[in-house]
């Protein structure tokens, strides 16, 4: 069945709510408004206001309350409308959620799931569109997931709610209306491993989030030009599935890392470093990266498009890397 990325997220939330009475959703405008991006439309009517909780504009307050509710035996899904707003709650996420288990010597775990919509491509300018996964992926104590595909948009939440520790789940606003095939029985997915979305033998395109479908598009174009590119969706940004990265590169001997996030101190820097450290002698060419240009996101469409990798940029980078 073809469904939109938005519908996939919604089905995941709905399934999680039906499966476990401890699960509730809270966030700004998730109830009466139906979700800022209409993701939770209709859920208030179905589950009631005890389980679909509209919150005030208090990111630190309600994210902290989600952490407390998790400590108290609930399984909260906390929605942060836009990644930029998550910084208002970063103290709660980093100083509390990620730290309590450790500070308490293993006594108090925090099973909260924080969904953050992010991404670039809807002309929302510099305070409503960024790709800040790396910022969270740096923090020990957090599990950081990136739902680049419809299957993950639907299935990651279900598994994340089973995790005893705090999970940050990134979703991508630019893909909300995008349709894809998803089996009717698609459900919970693994949240420990990366996934090879397209096998190939000439080069590994290693990516996540908004980079996934763009890399798939690029790989399809490359195939018509005689280059067989593998696409590896990282999916889990912390902890990284290092074994899968090394395995792929060891087979293809070339790696191009693709991400929307700013280039410096990014997920791609980390992946690149690990390839250098662990399988340098397998490489036929230096690792290359296609990343977000280091500017706050501009408003005009043509400038916004220029800040993040496009399929054509990926194709061009592959040709350059392969020397053909």
């Amino acid at each position: 069945m073809k469904i939109t990325y938005r519908e996939a997220i919604k089905q995941g939330i709905r399934q999680a709510m039906l499966a476990d009475e401890r699960v509730f959703l809270m966030g700004e405008d998730v109830g009466r408004y139906g979700g800022a991006f209409a993701v939770s439309k209709g859920l208030l009517q179905e589950f009631g206001e005890e389980r679909i909780m509209d919150t005030p504009l208090s990111e630190a307050g309600f994210v902290g309350a989600g952490i407390g509710a998790a400590l108290g035996g609930m399984r909260p899904i906390v929605e942060v409308m836009t990644v930029n707003f998550s910084l208002l709650a970063l103290d709660q996420i980093v100083n509390n959620a990620a730290t309590l288990l450790h500070m308490s010597g293993g006594q108090f775990n925090v099973p909260v799931v924080i969904r953050i919509s992010c991404g670039i491509g809807r002309q929302l300018a510099a305070q409503h569109s960024h790709s800040w996964e790396p910022m969270f992926a740096q923090v020990p104590g957090l599990k950081v997931l990136s739902a680049g595909t419809h299957a993950d948009a639907r299935g990651m939440l279900l598994t994340a709610l089973q995790d005893p520790d705090p999970v940050i789940l990134f979703e991508y606003t630019a893909q909300l209306n995008l349709e894809a095939e998803l089996p009717d029985d698609a459900g919970a997915v693994d949240i420990t491993k990366s996934k090879t979305l397209r096998p190939g033998k000439d080069i590994s395109l290693i990516t996540y989030g908004s980079g996934v479908y763009k890399s798939m598009e690029a790989a399809a174009a490359l195939a018509t030009q005689g280059i067989d590119a593998e696409v590896l969706d990282l999916r889990v940004l912390r902890p990284l599935d290092e074994a899968a990265i090394l395995e792929s590169v060891t087979r293809t001997h070339r790696a191009l890392i693709v991400e929307d996030a700013w280039r410096s101190v990014s997920v791609s820097s980390e992946v690149s470093a690990r390839i250098m450290e662990k399988c340098f002698y397998e490489l036929d060419a230096p690792v290359q990266r296609v990343c977000g240009v280091e500017v706050p996101i501009p408003y005009p469409k043509h400038l916004e498009d220029a800040t993040v990798p496009q399929p054509a940029d990926i194709v061009a980078a592959v040709h350059q890397l392969m020397g053909r």
């Binding site: 509730f24 902290g64 309350a65 407390g68 609930m74």
Partner: protein, 322 residues
Amino acid sequence: MTTNDRDRSIDLLRQMKLIRHFEERAAEMYTKAKIRGFLHLYVGEEAVAVGVMQALTPADNVLSTYREHGHALARGVDAGAIMAEMYGKQEGCSGGRGGSMHLFDKRTRFFGGNAIVGGHLPMAVGLALADKKQKREAITVCFFGEGAAAEGVFHESMNLAALWKVPALFVCENNQYAMGTALRFTHASTDLVRKGEAYGIPTHAVDGMDLRAVIQATDKATASIRKGDGPRMLVCETYRFRAHSMFDAELYREKNEVEEWKKRDPITQYQQHLALGEQDIKAMDLEVAAEVQRAIDFAEAGTWEPVESLLRHVTTEPITAT
């Protein structure tokens, strides 16, 4: 006063003395470099912790600040485990990972020891919300200083607590100084009671140096909360007799101000109220000193966590069958 009541009152005095003596010995151990990092003493504020905690049941949740030794002791966290934590030993109540500012204890539902000022307030709202949703008969008590009332997260938390009518008691310990800056230099409106009331939370000022006043106010507030009337807040006027931490030259206050407050020492006041005989007081002091000495002995005998297990407690360890 019945015999039971009197025994209970005497025990409350003993608890205050335990906190006082425990901290004096902790300061001594700090100067001997047995305890490192920050050490924030509660000396002078004991009536607040003891007076509030006596109203709680084992099912209730407690959250506190980085000046929390007194809260932990009054809640019933083992004194030896607290001292061992301050030593950094693995027998400590947080396995040695937290130190003085991060005391945790699952058995007594003591959720720390938070050293981000105000950072635990929204967590308290969430814990209380979880109890409400699960219809548990429990309340959440959250201690914080008047300095926290200047943080944005205080205001967010008060609003959420009142909006969701959660069973929580917010206890503001106004010890007059946010670290070394007096209330009048940090708050444009120094009436802290109004800050709770502004969010629709019934709030009362309490003489935090008077154990009986704290008990009376807390009993009343917790009774309302347990009835389902929503959150309450207390502003306990109190004073720390010692420096903010062990790195404080106390340039910001006059010695005679400290001396004036010491005349209202909560322990002296309550001891006089109980009119205990000299022998009884002496026996209690000896008992308390022995308990603290046992705590120190326990900490001294404690062991260091091996460096090999450094990565523990970052994520939950899988439960393995034994």
